[in-house]
Each structure stands twice: as C-alpha cells, then as structure tokens.
C-alpha cells in the first residue's frame, strides 16, 4: 500500500499492463514525447518506444478507428482522447463501429480496445473542454463504461479494462489527477461492474460516481453532525452495472438521490433513478431525486462554473431537505 496520486495510479496501470502484455499499445495525441496533455503517459515512450507509444496526428476519428482495427487484428490498444468533449469527432467510430462490430458480425469480431479520456469541470476550461458526456456512451449498447473516483480504482479499473474483450470507455476526471490516496496494487476496491458502498448510513442513499463521490462524502460527514446518516455508493462502472447493491440500499432507506456532474436532463442520474424507481417502488418514502449539473453549457467564469454543478453544500442541503423536510435557505 502506497500513497500516490490519481494521475500516477493510471500511469502505473499503463506501465504494468504494457510490461505484462506486449500487445498493449498506446495511441493518441501527445501521448508520447509530450507525455499526455495531463501528464498521464509521461515517460512511457522512453520505456516502450514509439512503436507502442504512438503519437498520432490530430485526427480523433482515425485514432479511434485505428484502435478498432488494431483491436480486431490482435493488439490491445489504449487510445487516448485528450478531452471527452472531442468525442463528437469520434462518435461514428465509437458508436457505430467499436460498439457494434461484435454484434453485427455475429460474434466473430470483438473490439477489445480501451478509450481513455477525461472530462468534468474544475479548471475553468469552458464549454468545449469541461463536459461530462458519459450519458452519450452509456446510451450505446456494446460499450462498457468506467469512471473511477479513487486512486485505487483508477489503477485497478484500468487494469481490469485491459482484460475485457469489448470496448471500454474509461473516463477520468481532470479535477482528480492531483488527488492523493492509497494504492494497493494487489487489492481492488471491488469487482468489475459492481458499485462500492463508500459510507454506510441509515437515512438515505446518495448514489454517485467520479469526482462527485468526494462532494457526496463531504456532505455526508456534515449531515452526520445534524443526525442524518447518509449511505454513499460509488457506481464506478456504469456498464456493466450490477444494481443489486443500489436496490438493497434504496429499499432499506426508502430515500435516495443520484448525483452527477453532468447536465441532469437525460443523464446517468436520470437512468439510475428511473431504474431504481421501478424496482424499489414499494419501498420508497420519497421520489428518487436527481441532483446534477444545470442544463447549460459550462461557463468559463470560475464562479459560474462552480455554480453550475452540484457542490457539497447542494448535496448536503438537498439531503437534509429530503430526510427532515428542513428546507434550505435557497429554497423558493
């Protein structure tokens, strides 16, 4: 067990995976000499060479397309998309090609690639470099989707992604790269596809993922001071997603909120809350709440940016409102 950063954990996972499996290659913009826009692949080209750490031209569609072809023919490519906001450039390759090849071709041709990218707010990067677009991916059958929130998950989920036979979209959070935490390379936080309960509580369940986990945990701490015990569950994997843990917790507490940084309409939170509403209906004391980003493009002003996404305070106040009917100051 060592203390390291989220960024370093991902780099370590790539390093270890490339050492363990010579078919693993990296391809993307600035992944080689530059070391990755956020420094995740720093130094890997010196270790594994330009044949395996491939600096690609600014051609996002062809980067993903090439990764697909490499995956079809026996390599295990890790393509890097510098910002998830650029996913639009790759969407045909991702959604029509990678996601559907196995199915269209009757199971003959799998596409075991990992698309690493990062999203989210926190660096005042404005509307085209700050989005949370996981719902676009989650809506596409055939794509697995992972969003690690902890240092240990950053390592293990990436290692696990590199054992999958299907395309995995691995979305990091730009606001977490410098976060420190414990890494135990021998012990994952949980199994692939299974949410992990990060905090137990009796009064409500807060279901979230990626950076919002940390906002939710902070809110839960403060809620406890007010006598409200919130359970906090980290989804980790959005596809596959075994919802048994969620169902048990929501049935136990009868109150739940799903928190996402993404624009809330049509979001992961919408899907999760709908799913749980269906199967937990008889146990619900209150509607399952979605707490998400405002339905606006991300503004550049730090104040506006912060105000457009859920905060610890918003999660705290909303949870308190949900459980105790104590309306927050900003209500009405």
């Amino acid at each position: 067990m060592t203390q390291t950063t989220y960024r370093e954990a991902i780099r370590q996972a790539l390093l270890d995976a490339m050492a363990a499996d010579p078919s693993v290659i990296l391809i993307g913009e600035e992944v080689g000499l530059y070391g990755g826009a956020y420094g995740v692949t720093k130094g890997l080209i010196e270790i594994y060479g330009a044949e395996r750490v491939i600096d690609a031209p600014i051609s996002e569609a062809a980067i993903v397309g090439a990764a697909i072809g490499a995956a079809m023919t026996g390599l295990r490519p890790v393509a890097e998309l510098m910002y998830v906001d650029f996913i639009g450039m790759t969407m045909d390759q991702l959604a029509n090609q990678a996601a559907k090849s196995r199915y269209m071709f009757g199971g003959q041709i799998g596409v075991p690639l990992v698309l690493r990218t990062q999203g989210g707010t926190g660096r005042s990067a404005a509307a085209q470099h700050s989005q949370s677009l996981e719902a676009w991916v989650m809506h596409t059958p055939g794509l697995r989707l992972v969003m690690p929130a902890t240092v240990n998950d950053a390592y293990h989920l990436l290692r696990q992604a590199l054992t999958q036979s299907d395309p995995v979209v691995f979305i990091e959070h730009k606001g977490l790269y410098t976060m420190k935490g414990a890494l135990d390379v021998t012990r994952p936080d949980g199994d692939w596809g299974k949410p992990v309960t990060r905090r137990s509580g009796r009064d409500l369940v807060i279901i979230t993922y990626s950076r919002m986990l940390h906002e939710a945990l902070a809110a839960a701490e403060r809620l406890a001071q007010a006598g409200v015990e919130a359970e906090v569950i980290d989804l980790r994997c959005l596809n596959p997603l075994d919802d048994a843990v969620l169902v048990e917790a929501v049935r136990r507490t009868g109150r739940a909120m799903v928190v996402t940084e993404a624009a809330v309409t049509g979001s992961v939170a919408s899907e999760i809350s709908a799913r749980l509403s269906e199967v937990c209906f008889d146990w619900l004391h209150e509607p399952i709440l979605r707490v998400g980003g405002e339905d606006i493009p991300i503004p550049v002003s730090p104040a506006l940016e912060r105000g457009s996404i859920p905060s610890e305070a918003l999660i705290h106040d909303t949870a308190l409102w949900l459980v105790t009917r104590e309306a927050p100051e900003w209500a009405e």
Binding site: G227, G254, R325
Partner: protein
C-alpha cells in the same frame, strides 16, 4: 372568489344518501376554512361537513330533515380562491367566471371525494399488506402525503422491529440509547420532533409503541405486563449497555417498572407528567376520549390536555385512529382509573430504583395533579413548568432534551433548583 356549487361528498364507505340534521352556517354568512358548514346523518353516524376554504354561503340548497343523495347539490358558496375546493364536492355554476380545479385540498378531502390519494409508494405497500384503507388516513408527510409511518400508526407493520409484542422505531446514531414511552391514547408519533432532536445530539433513539396502540400487537391492559414486554423487546434490540428512558404519563409508569426490571442498565428516568404518583385522575378526559364520535367532541376532550389548537385534518386523523383502537383504549382506561382514582402506583418502584430520576410536570395539568410530586423519592429532581398542561414536554422541549442528554454530573447540578409555580 368564485361561485361554486357544493355537492354532498361521500362520508362513509357504504353511504349513498344522508339526512341533513342542521345548518351551522347561515345564508349570507362568511366562514373560514375548517368551519363546519352543516351536519348530516348517515345510516351510521352524524357527520360534519367542513369547509376547506374561506368563503361566504350564498344559498342553502337543502334543509334540515331532507334526505340528500350522494353528489346532490347542497349549497352554493362564494369560495376564496379558484383552486381551493371545499371538502364537499364543488362544481362551477354556469355564471362562475372560472372553473374550479378538481385538485383536492387535502388527502382527506380527496379521499372523501373519491379523488386520488397522495401517498408514498412505501405507504401504499404498507397499506396493502395491512389491509388498511388509505382514504381513512390523513397524511403527515410532505404536502400532506400519507407516509408509511402514517400507515404504520394504523396497525401492525412488518417493517418495524417487534420484540415480543412491542414495536420499536429506531433512529439516530450510535450514542447512548434513549427510549421513549408514550402515554394513553397516544403512540410513538406523539413525541413530535423530540426523537430527531435527541438523534441530532448523537443518541440512538428508540421510540416504543405500547401494546394496543401504534404498531404493537394488542396485549393485556396491564402496566406490569407492558413493562415486561417492553423490557424484553429492549433486551432483544439492545442486548448490552446503558440506556435512558423517557416516559409520559402512562408511559412514565411503564418506564419506571422497566427500570426496575432492567436494573443496572437504566442510568436515568425522565418522567413527564407521570401517572402513578398520586390518587386522582381526570375522568372527564378519559371518558371523553373514549366517547368522542365527532371531531368537535374529540376537540373538546383533547382540550383538557392543553396542547393548543389542532387542525381539522389532524383531528379527523386522530378520530379515525381512536375509533379503531377504542376497545383497547377502553380496557386501558379501566385498568388505570376507576371512579376518578388511579389504580397504578409507581412510588414503590421509584424507591427501588437507584437510577437518576428527573420529573417534569405542568402546574396547569388538568389530567393529573402536579402536587403528587410530593410522593417522589427525595433524590428525584423535579422541574415544574408554570401553567403547562398534561404535555409539559411539548411546552418545554429544550428542557426535555437537556434533561435527557446532559451528562450525569452536569445534569444533576442543573436540576438542583425547583422552580415554584
């Protein structure tokens, strides 16, 4: 204001028509929301038809003695606000400029009008399991929604933890557990926000339903039997460690006997208007609660508690609950008092316990006599609340929280002084 026609609402499951017995509001007179407009007699009982909005009675369309069919017009009123529809079914008269909405003003109204009932999914599931009719329950939840707890208050609920025959409602954290025991005619919900406040102070809170009312299965109307059942349930729920008991009235008597049974584990008794210290008890209250057949009668009986005004919706909810539990309550009332004399004595039990005892009494209590505190053991700390009635813990909630949560030494120091009336 908008002119609407009131129609006779469904006031009972089998009711098809009713006889008008009396108009309580005269033509041309104004009325407030909650006022009784008229009384009608069904095949079972006399029922009041309340207004659910402020307004003015324009015309009485039926007279005392008339047999009126369900849904037939009974009055024309000028109602405050287009959206606030009276409990009695309303519809626009042709000249009305605005169509009143059919949104019910409260779950009660909606139930009576056959409109949708607002209830949480969990409440519906609980009602389905228990065979409870949701239309008979008034919701206490958000915007009047019927909660699972509301349903649980109507009968046995599989969701709460029952040790022996006792239902325990647990909340709060991992701190020193505080056990709440309610009084006669009450149930675990009668503590208002006390459980939440104790939980906020870090305590585990267990709110008990005594046998009969609340969630607990009916048991013998005996303080000793109830104390044994509660002690068993608490032992099962909390196998080890100290705990504190807060009891009100009958619940205070039960708490005292639990403290004897679980000697060594109970570190403090907080008794609010405890039963069993003296001789007299108010028969009018006991009998009035058993006899109340209308919300007005219930309101009169409950006024002796000096608990402040209660809304029509709460009164209706309480009436429904009390009517359902009437045989249980009658048995308890008979066990507790005969001819105005208490049949329970806890002074011997208090003398036998070694735990900290703190008593709170209202000097305006009309059910029990506050001067019975003279029979308390000398070590008991007493807090008298000037002018408060039989629910002193509602009059001084902060005091009760302090009495229950302060540490031993500090608490004792705080309670050395007795405030005189």
């Amino acid at each position: 204001m908008g002119r609407v026609i009131l129609r006779l609402p469904r006031l009972g499951e089998t009711m098809e028509q009713a006889r008008v017995t009396d108009w309580l509001v005269a033509t041309g007179a104004g009325f407030k929301r909650g006022d009784i407009l008229l009384e009608v007699e069904t095949d079972k009982t006399v029922v009041e038809v309340p207004a659910m909005t402020d307004g003015v009675l324009i015309a009485q369309l039926v007279s005392p003695g008339d047999m009126v069919d369900l849904d037939a017009p009974i009055a024309e009123i000028d109602a405050e606000g287009a959206g606030d529809v009276p409990a009695a079914k309303a519809e626009a008269v042709p000249i009305a400029p605005r169509q009143p909405e059919s949104v019910p003003a409260s779950p009660l109204a909606s139930a009576e009008a056959g409109a949708p009932v607002a209830a949480s999914p969990a409440a519906r599931a609980a009602a389905r399991r228990a065979g409870t009719d949701l239309t008979l329950i008034a919701g206490t939840g958000r915007r009047g929604r019927i909660t699972a707890e509301d349903v649980a208050g109507q009968g046995p609920d599989a969701d709460c933890q029952q040790g022996a025959q006792i239902a325990l409602h647990r909340s709060g954290g991992a701190g020193l557990p505080i056990i709440l025991l309610h009084g006669l005619y009450d149930d675990h919900r009668g503590w208002r926000d006390l459980p939440r406040r104790l939980a906020a102070a870090g305590h585990a809170v267990v709110s008990v339903d005594l046998p009969g009312p609340g969630d607990s299965v009916d048991g013998p109307a005996s303080v000793d039997a109830a104390a044994r059942a509660v002690a068993d349930a608490l032992t099962a729920e909390l196998p080890e460690g100290a705990m504190r008991l807060i009891g009100h009235s009958l619940g205070a008597a039960v708490a005292t006997k639990v403290a004897v049974l679980l000697a060594g584990r109970i570190d403090r008794l907080v008794l609010s208007a405890p039963l069993g210290l003296g001789a007299r008890i108010d028969t009018d209250f006991l009998q009035g609660m058993l006899a109340a057949d209308t919300t007005a009668a219930l309101s009169r009986a409950m006024s002796r508690l000096d608990a402040g005004p209660l809304s029509q919706a709460i009164l209706a909810q309480e009436l429904a609950r009390l009517k359902r539990l009437r045989p249980v309550h009658r048995a308890w009332a008979e066990a507790l008092a005969q001819g105005g004399f208490q049949q329970i004595d806890i002074t011997g039990d208090l003398a036998r316990t070694s735990c900290d005892v703190r008593v709170i009494f209202g000097t305006g209590d009309r059910i029990l006599d506050w001067q019975d505190i003279a029979n308390l053991p000398a070590r008991a700390a007493v807090h008298l609340v000037r002018g408060a009635g039989h629910l002193p813990h509602h009059a001084e909630p902060d005091l009760v929280v302090a009495l229950a949560t302060t540490t031993m030494g500090k608490g004792r120091a705080d309670t050395e002084t007795r405030s005189a009336p």
